[in-house]
Point group: C2
Chain length 177, copies 2
Amino acid sequence: MISNELSGFVRNIKDFPKQGIMFRDITTLLKEPKALNKTLELLFEKAEIAAPTKVAGIESRGFIFGGMLANRLNVGFIPIRKPGKLPAKTISQTYELEYGTDKLEIHEDAVQPGDRILIHDDLLATGGTALAACSLVEKLGGIVVQNSFIIELSFLNGRSKLRSYDVVSLINYSSEE
Amino acid sequence: MISNELSGFVRNIKDFPKQGIMFRDITTLLKEPKALNKTLELLFEKAEIAAPTKVAGIESRGFIFGGMLANRLNVGFIPIRKPGKLPAKTISQTYELEYGTDKLEIHEDAVQPGDRILIHDDLLATGGTALAACSLVEKLGGIVVQNSFIIELSFLNGRSKLRSYDVVSLINYSSEE
């Protein structure tokens, strides 16, 4: 199976979560062991070069391959979560949504100064969430060595927001169709 | 490292999410590669015996080791999620909380009749969430072959609610202290 074949395992769902949006559903990829393994191996190949000391996964779908990737790289895993979920001392970062704002949190002791952090999420859209995650890591003295995604929606131009970082994605959609 | 040594990696946080609750925080275990690997290997040993054809993880913390476990077993992964998150056709199951109710959803096509499903979550408390997950799998014709947890709070007696199932946990707390 080559990288492009992975896209055949992604299901397209019209008008989710709202009218006009084509949702790229990875649950159909996750349930096929070959596609799941291939995805992990491709993410791993890219991740290995960046030599992270920890993998941070963004809640919730970023936890799935984030955890696998940490284990495959033999490094620790850090959850980056929605507000109020992490029980110890946290720092937070607000970011813009289409309407309004949202917030992400990380434990203060999750990152040590100099830690090389790979940030994983399943999807790169406008890049707002990933950029907030990068800020959290850097506030704690960590170095963001890669932003890794399964899917990229390049027509939303998320890479421009992440231009100071190494950005990796496996499957690209250049339009909403 | 033996199983009991794992508990040394769990952080105890008083009065989270509310007064009187001792929260068992696994983020300190996740960030240590040795503890993460050991946890996975212990879950895998137990899981292998149950011979699942898929692993279902309960949102959100159940996604972390759920994904790893699916990959280690070389089977597919199914997310069981909070309402409104899964984009395709779902079925749902309501369950009781201390105050009020909550709901879980699964994609209708996530489980085929006869599929052997291992359900993973990080924590077994009263068992309400896990039992709802079992109902979802069974409504779709699946067989629940194991409920697997990292942590069990045995003083909340979740096993009695799951008495028709194989229940596995790695670390037990017999009281709130």
